[in-house]
Symmetry: C2
Subunit: 463 residues, 2 copies
Amino acid sequence: MDLITVKEIFRNRDKYFDQKVTIGGWVRSVRASKAFGFIVVADGSYFDTIQVVYHDTMENFTEISKLNVGAAIIVKGTLVATPDAKQPFEIQADEVAVEGPSASDYPLQKKRHTLEYLRTITHLRPRTNTFQAVFRVRSLAAYAIHKFFQEHGFVYVNTPLITGSDAEGAGEMFQVTTLDLNNVPKTEDGAVDFSQDFFNKKVSLTVSGQLNGETYAMAFRNIYTFGPTFRAENSNTTRHAAEFWMIEPEMAFADLQDDMEVAEAMLKYVINYVLENAPEEMNFFNSFIDKGLLDRLNNVVSNEFGRITYTEAVKLLEEHNDEFDYKVYWGCDLQTEHERYLTEKIFGKPVFVTDYPKEIKAFYMKLNPDGKTVAAVDCLVPGIGEIIGGSQREDDYEKLKARMDELGMKEEQYDFYMDLRKYGSARHAGFGLGFERAVMYLTGMGNIRDVIPFPRTVNNCEL
Amino acid sequence: MDLITVKEIFRNRDKYFDQKVTIGGWVRSVRASKAFGFIVVADGSYFDTIQVVYHDTMENFTEISKLNVGAAIIVKGTLVATPDAKQPFEIQADEVAVEGPSASDYPLQKKRHTLEYLRTITHLRPRTNTFQAVFRVRSLAAYAIHKFFQEHGFVYVNTPLITGSDAEGAGEMFQVTTLDLNNVPKTEDGAVDFSQDFFNKKVSLTVSGQLNGETYAMAFRNIYTFGPTFRAENSNTTRHAAEFWMIEPEMAFADLQDDMEVAEAMLKYVINYVLENAPEEMNFFNSFIDKGLLDRLNNVVSNEFGRITYTEAVKLLEEHNDEFDYKVYWGCDLQTEHERYLTEKIFGKPVFVTDYPKEIKAFYMKLNPDGKTVAAVDCLVPGIGEIIGGSQREDDYEKLKARMDELGMKEEQYDFYMDLRKYGSARHAGFGLGFERAVMYLTGMGNIRDVIPFPRTVNNCEL
């Protein structure tokens, strides 16, 4: 079909004034009088809508006037500038063809709906202003991430979703099986007989692609993953989903400083890309969802991120222990209240906190010369606290083995990972960015359920 | 670390001649004589390697000379043009620091390894020429797909992986659960008690994001998905994997003609992008993996794709029934031998076959006026046959309902899908491209296990 998008009209309006245009879209509202009427149409290509004027000279004038919100129409007409009106232009229609009417029980009438209600109709909510904005920004942010890494020569690696190992020895996992749960086959000694399962062993959904990603960094130097990850955690909060997307870059011949540089550059790039490519959406969020949003994002892109060690940060925070629910002490895991205090009150801008006690971080992080801390880094941003977590990885075979022994890990599961330290080990570092957290940060949306098209949370797997 | 990539040196060599450069990479080979030696280094940023010359004036001359294949080194030196040598330039090293040696049992010695053997070391195979080329092309192809759709205003949608419904009423699915398989809870009447499972119901891994994608097309007009999909099919072939990535664009206000136009433009775009951005890799494939590759790809990008209906195609093929294992007749599903005959022998270029009998296609495809065929399309390409399958979707509520009744489908599972036909239905179309099939086509690799970093197939889920 030879249709023009509303976006194209808005972006290159001068080209189309007094020209014939044909658009296809969905009715947001109809106001009909006796001789003519106005239809506000959205076609999903652009945040703003376009106004269509139609007249009773049309055969189907009555049909059009009775259209319900949500109906699909195809409009042929002339684009006319309307310098004295609220909207910059409108289409004077020659023809309005009804592509598909909308039944009278259409759930999205022209009124404000709560986000909670809209969560019950995930198949229709992308038609609302808020979710048009959210999911267009989500799409742009995803593309900006690919663009950033590709332009910097990173190789995109699809690490596996179904996995036989538990990436961090932590995190509750979903099991994947083709066994008949009504009648699980058992071995002679009564255990589940996984030899009859599809993969001939027990498998789960991945919680991180990092360890696989490292194998590719040791071949391509700079790689990134961007794919779904899963957590079977029974936490019904506004920030946890059972299925979410993660970005995990990994760089060989890179240390913690390099890691922070890439993380900072990436965050700034993505924010700038979205601000430039979705100005209407970002203004909408700033006006209706989160008043301080644009200031906060501009603060991030225009400041050099602060850097502080965990030990120094703890010293500074201890001075304010009376303001915290959880008291800070060396060795504690920083809570969101502490992270936000650091980045909002003490630094007033994003800050990298480095060199955490090894006890509160993962086994693969590089032991510092002090023997107590590891080369870990969390990036804290005003408004939410931690947005990125990363580390330089332990690249010394013996030290890694010692740490795994300490933690009682099953080494045979990690042969491939140890091989990377045996054959051409190189210092390397990486980080993880939860994509939904990033989209929440970009949009000001407060609930992770509202930045995922079809969210999966405990007891909830609709559509 | 302030390192330069081998790619940067190759691409902008003039800038670096007689300049100091520092690279980090892995040893491909060492040839040492008494007073000096040569190291061939790959850093993973580029298909070609770089030669390093070192001398016995270095303190660690002996250490370097004994380096095994796979060792990681950091080289500081001067880039020198070598117009009379095989390679265009080399690095005259001032310093070669050993970042990490490689143990003597390194599995990738300087010799040819079979693809079968390399499949047993998926964590190391990306260090070989073949897999360097495969996975760099895979990354570029993925990016090209995003770039194509984003530049055409499509919104990227992450459809869910865990799903409560079976997208096509077909396809064997993996079940996802947190129930204890050793002790599956049962209800009073002996059925599995899914109320105790994480999602409070039976859920599986998706086989397609299309139905979810359609809900977003009816909001954003043009959308695409690009994510993992799963099949629990017990088929141990060179073309089936249990976990693979799919691209599924969906367009509202679009018919089958529009669908074909987008599919053709996308395929050509991706091929051109890879040819332009990975010429070394593509020449490698053409020389060592598949001699006709470049001719075949150039044929695709430079020809307008043919178009033929299934009915016409069957007539043409029936004339050659003596050449086929499976005889062709109207109503039969076309086999790969038929598809290849059509595209290779009859058309000599890619061809779209349209309007298949409804019995051999999915329930959601739009019924044609003849009442017998549906607005389906398969895109066939020389060398493999079908690479893309798509259709215009049935957008008429009553016709869709009738077809679902005919097939005995559970309508209550599809309420959301029927809603799209009730509230502003618009003609729409889409297609699916199996990403691994596309990478196989781009590289000439013959086994899907060799284009997936960590392949999952029946009885195989390593790393």
